[in-house]
């Protein structure tokens, strides 16, 4: 079954469409980068796929079903998490939050849920600072904690909204190393990015969104895409040495 199938999708807010008539398929083991100018509708597209907003027209199917606020099988890493730095919570507790809600009362996390969270933390390389308060971590470490949270319920699709925004080059490389590994392990990845280096090195397909969507089945930005989103050429970034340790309070 196709992981994500979008046909004729129109979506927006308060009756005003941000984009219209979008068609898109995310295939098995796909690695799709969505680029485009700010305000073009990339995040709105993600919100429609996640079921956080209702389509104004067209359909979104995730594994053949309409998403209704909590689509199973999708892990989501939001953009620049609006983290309350005063919130008293450890990285481990944040990752545990990734475990999906089950019916009935469940005041405690089960042994299986804790083990799944530990596995996700190892995968995202956050085990070393699992007990640190989230507000004391660097931006890159925090991003990987949210990645681990998304991986905890073992999703088949991973959606990331600008996962490397405001990270230093080595932390960006670390993030893409993990994403590459996840993709090799069979997880379909869809990410919003302005990072051109990731497009040439890691992704399999590129889509450009600016109120409408153009998809290229190769990891290249076409002239048509540049024409569509020309005022926002993705940034060129340094490809540096990977140092996943990061820095606290960075």
């Amino acid at each position: 079954m196709i992981p994500i199938k979008i046909e004729g999708l129109t979506a927006g807010y308060d009756g005003r469409a941000v984009f219209s008539n979008v068609d898109l398929e995310l295939k098995d083991r796909d690695f799709l980068a969505v680029i485009g100018p700010n305000g073009g509708g990339k995040t709105t597209l993600f919100r429609a796929i996640l079921g956080l907003i209702k389509p104004m027209g067209g359909t979104v199917k995730v594994f053949g079903e309409e998403p209704a606020g909590s689509p199973s099988g999708i892990g989501y890493v939001p953009q620049n998490e609006n983290l309350d730095s005063e919130y008293p919570i450890s990285a481990r507790e944040v990752v545990l939050m990734g475990m999906r809600c089950k019916k009935g009362l469940r005041p405690f996390y089960s042994k299986e849920e804790k083990e799944a969270a530990e596995r996700a933390m190892e995968y995202a390389e956050v085990s070393d600072f699992a007990d640190s308060r989230i507000s004391k971590l660097s931006g890159g470490q925090r991003q990987r904690v949210y990645l681990a949270r998304a991986l905890a319920p073992e999703p088949k699709i991973l959606m990331l909204d600008e996962p490397t925004a405001s990270l230093d080059p080595s932390m960006k490389d670390c993030t893409y190393d993990i994403l590459r590994k996840l993709n090799k392990d069979g997880i379909a990845i869809m990410l919003i990015t302005h990072d051109m280096s990731s497009i040439s090195h890691d992704v399999k397909r590129v889509a450009c969104m600016n109120h409408r969507l153009i998809v290229n089945d190769a990891p290249e930005i076409t002239q048509e895409m540049i024409a569509l989103g020309f005022h926002c050429i993705p940034e060129l970034v340094h490809i540096g040495h990977c140092d996943c340790g990061g820095h606290n309070n960075g």
Binding site: L50, L52, G69, S70, P71, Y76, P78, E81, D84, E86, Y87, P88, I89, S90, E93, V94, M97, G98, M99, R100, C101, K102, L105, R106, P107, F108, Y109, R133, R149
Partner: protein, 288 residues
């Protein structure tokens, strides 16, 4: 000079400390959720609407002669209704939260004044405005204490059962929705818990100073703790200690207990901020 042994052997004083202790436990726990979700102004709004319920209760008791509709029942009714109004998606998503709070706050207070002016004072003698607004813990009877204790136990049980969902909701509401948590229901649960806590707290410090009892211990606890559970436990402890000292000072100086507890908490909060800032500066100096 106060004879402390004689004072503490008085049932009235003992009752006062028991009421304060029970209220502090609930306020410490719910106050933690209020502080981490930045709902202090919501709490203030709910607390002030209870004045309308108190006024309505006096009117109903005196004019319609419904004896069970006590001021605490009226306060609980207004608190829960205003909490539900604020939590409903059709209100919270369509209107600015602070505007809704402002309307409920002012209308609740105004209704209280109107109902109290219409009541029959020859049938029921109401508590003074001052006592209602600024609290009079000495007037809390054993039946009210029983209600406060039951509300506290029920509220704590609800928080224990839904702790996991409440933690996700207060940390990241979008993620809560994606996790399959019914955020409309959980928000309603949280708002109603806050409403019930306001009703319990206003018995100790009065309507106007409910925010102090709910917010200050939790805000202090937040400075020194690293998890939500830890913050709740420390908040309860601080609340109990500060309320005890506040009440002792009130007895010793013969000044209003509710106001004294609020001022004690405020002074210790400022002291805690000062100590924490000084400690951070010392730590920075050592690191350099």
């Amino acid at each position: 000079m106060v004879d402390w042994i004689a004072a503490f052997s008085m049932p009235l004083i003992q009752n006062m400390f028991i009421v304060a202790a029970v209220a502090c436990v609930l306020c410490g726990v719910v106050g933690t959720l209020v502080v981490v979700k930045r709902m202090v102004f919501v709490t203030g709004g709910i607390a002030h609407t209870t004045f309308g319920g108190v006024g309505l209760a006096y009117y109903v008791m005196s004019v319609i002669a419904v004896s069970w509709f006590t001021p605490m029942v009226g306060a609980a009714l207004f608190a829960v209704v205003s909490a539900v109004i604020m939590a409903l998606p059709m209100v919270s998503k369509k209107m600015r939260e602070d505007s809704v709070i402002g309307v409920l706050w002012s209308v609740g207070m105004a209704l209280g004044v109107i109902f109290m002016s219409l009541m029959d004072r020859s049938v029921v003698t109401p508590r003074s405005f001052e006592s209602i607004l600024f609290g009079d813990i000495l007037l809390v009877g054993s039946s009210e204490l029983m209600v406060i204790a039951i509300v506290t136990v029920l509220s704590l049980a609800i928080i224990a059962v839904f702790f996991r969902d409440l933690q996700v909701l207060t940390f990241d509401e979008t993620h809560a929705k994606l996790s399959g948590i019914n955020i409309t229901v959980m928000n309603l649960v949280l708002y109603v818990l806050i409403a019930l806590t306001c009703v319990v707290a206003l018995n100790v410090v009065g309507i106007v100073m409910v925010i102090a009892l709910i917010t200050i211990p939790a805000a202090m606890s937040n400075m020194f703790t690293d998890s939500l559970k830890e913050m709740m436990v420390v908040s309860v402890g601080l609340s109990l200690i500060m309320a005890f000292f506040g009440l002792v000072i009130a007895i010793g100086a013969d000044i209003p207990p509710g106001a004294t507890v609020s001022v004690t908490m405020g002074v210790l909060f400022i002291t805690a901020i000062t100590v924490k800032t000084a400690m951070a500066k010392v730590g920075q100096g050592k690191a350099e």
